[in-house]
């Protein structure tokens, strides 16, 4: 039927136009996850917004054919993965390649500027290490280790056999751990990720 919304029929268009509230609810619930997923897949800076919009446009166009019994978050990640893959193939679409991440604004009054900078640096490091993984392994690693998706959902969302998903995850885990040891041998992971300053 539909292929990324390229053959929407009339009834589907009307259906979409009549469901703005549902689309908005999906968007509100998932936009943060989609943005962070794209970030972990390599999108940066200004590209993040454009690619996020593209993910949701495609998702909403495919929504009439979406199996509502499936989890929507892995499904969105699968779309994000394909959008990102297309963007990589056409590098001109990635205008912000190499752009540094803007420092996050600490909104928690309990977070000192030093601690906020430390958290920002840790997240930057994670993204930097993720960049070292090939996209297919990175996607599985990010979905399982960061998004908390199940292996079945991952295999389904990425359209790969379950065994392949496991294989990619195993290799990605080993590679990521090796990168941490090699590039940051003295790195001590913080046991507190809440953003609070333990020194007080």
């Amino acid at each position: 039927m539909t292929n990324f919304g390229r053959s929407l029929n009339f009834s589907q268009v009307v259906s979409l136009s009549q469901l703005p509230d549902e689309l908005r609810a999906i968007y509100d619930a998932e936009v943060g996850n989609v943005v962070n997923s794209l970030r972990r897949l390599g999108a940066r800076g200004r590209d993040l917004e454009d690619l996020t919009q593209e993910v949701f446009v495609r998702a909403f166009q495919q929504l009439p054919s979406f199996d509502r019994t499936r989890a929507i978050r892995p499904w969105l990640f699968g779309i994000a993965f394909r959008v990102m893959a297309e963007a990589r193939r056409h590098t001109w679409k990635l205008r912000a390649a190499g752009q540094a991440e803007a420092p996050e604004v600490a909104t928690d009054p309990g977070v000192t500027p030093e601690r906020a900078a430390e958290i920002h640096e840790t997240r930057r490091l994670v993204l930097e290490l993720l960049e070292e993984l090939v996209p297919e392994r990175r996607a599985v690693f990010a979905m399982y280790e960061l998004n908390g998706d199940s292996m079945t959902e991952i295999a389904d969302a990425l359209g790969i056999p379950l065994f392949t998903a496991y294989s990619r995850l195993r290799v990605a885990r080993a590679q990521f751990a090796s990168l941490v040891r090699e590039r940051h041998p003295g790195l001590k992971g913080s046991g507190d990720s809440s953003g609070k300053d333990d020194s007080k």
Binding site: F4, G5, R6, F10, Q12, V13, V14, L16, S17, L19, P20, L23, R24, Y27, V31, G32, V35, N36, R39, R40, E49, L51, T52, Q53, F56, V57, F60, Q61, E86, A87, H90, W92, K93, R95, E104, I119, T122, R123, L125, V126, Y144, E145, L146, G148, S150, M151, T152, Y166, L169, R170, R173, F176, A177, V180, L187, K188, G189, S190, S193, G195
Partner: protein
């Protein structure tokens, strides 16, 4: 972490600590979320139309010139560009527009920009664009200030129902309704061809309009449609030419500004 039939060994403590911080990465700001939602609504309204298949900016390869246009369309997330998209959608509802001219009481189907154009002499400086992404029936209750932009209805069949135009204060126009209706009819043909993917036909209709109405009320809309037709047809040179012409003729156009990015 999640269900798995295979037992996965735990991660190294340092790696786990790193990933825990990344897992708690904050979401996007409310302003950023709203900006993207506006663009998504616009994009859906512009693309979720049968026969208009390739408006998705990531859907296919395109030249840098096309990317400029596509990027510009993507930048319609900026509030300043929304009225222009309403124009593009409004051209799609020319049926309602024509009805609005021919039948008193059908004015609700006019796009906001077209309404503005109709009630404001061309010589007057254009007022600042208002954030009105989709037409709202006149006389309807005012929208809540926090109400998010709604998905624009892309087809005339789902446009808001006509309401009496007793609240509309019309200024005298310099062109007759019949002339304007003729302009609309020409653009409607072009827009229909554009929806059907007949780029050359659409361009021919647009050019016919331009020849017949070089100073037409809908000249900007026609020029804009010309850019889009070339862009969707994959004509990079034509896109560039028409884009430059559009900027030259309508330098204050929000679309022209966004296309500069």
């Amino acid at each position: 972490m999640s269900d798995s039939s295979l037992e996965l060994p735990p991660l190294d403590a340092n790696v786990e600590a790193l990933l825990r911080i990344e897992r708690e990465r904050p979401s996007v700001s409310a302003a950023q979320a709203e900006r993207m939602w506006s663009a998504i609504s616009v994009e859906l309204g512009a693309t979720a139309v049968p026969g208009v298949a390739q408006a998705s900016p990531m859907g296919r390869a395109a030249s840098p010139v096309q990317s400029t246009v596509v990027s510009g369309i993507g930048k319609l997330a900026l509030l300043k560009a929304l009225p222009w998209v309403a124009v593009s959608l409004g051209v799609g509802s020319i049926g309602g527009f024509v009805a609005g001219h021919r039948t008193a009481g059908s004015r609700a189907s006019l796009s906001p920009v077209l309404k503005e154009r109709e009630t404001t002499p061309r010589a007057d400086p254009a007022p600042a664009p208002q954030l009105v992404p989709i037409p709202v029936p006149l006389g309807a209750p005012p929208a809540s200030p926090v109400e998010p932009p709604r998905l624009a209805a892309p087809l005339p069949s789902v446009m808001p129902a006509a309401v009496p135009s007793s609240h509309v204060r019309r200024k005298p126009t310099t062109r007759s309704d019949d002339e304007l209706a003729e302009e609309e009819a020409l653009l409607r043909q072009a827009e229909s061809a554009l929806r059907a993917g007949n780029w050359s036909t659409a361009l021919a209709e647009i050019d016919a309009y331009a020849r017949r109405y070089p100073r037409g009320e809908l000249a900007e809309e026609a020029a804009y449609l010309g850019v889009r037709a070339c862009q969707r047809g994959g004509d990079a040179t034509g896109t560039q030419t028409r884009l430059l012409d559009f900027r030259r003729r309508f330098p204050s156009s929000p679309l022209g500004k966004s296309a500069d990015d």
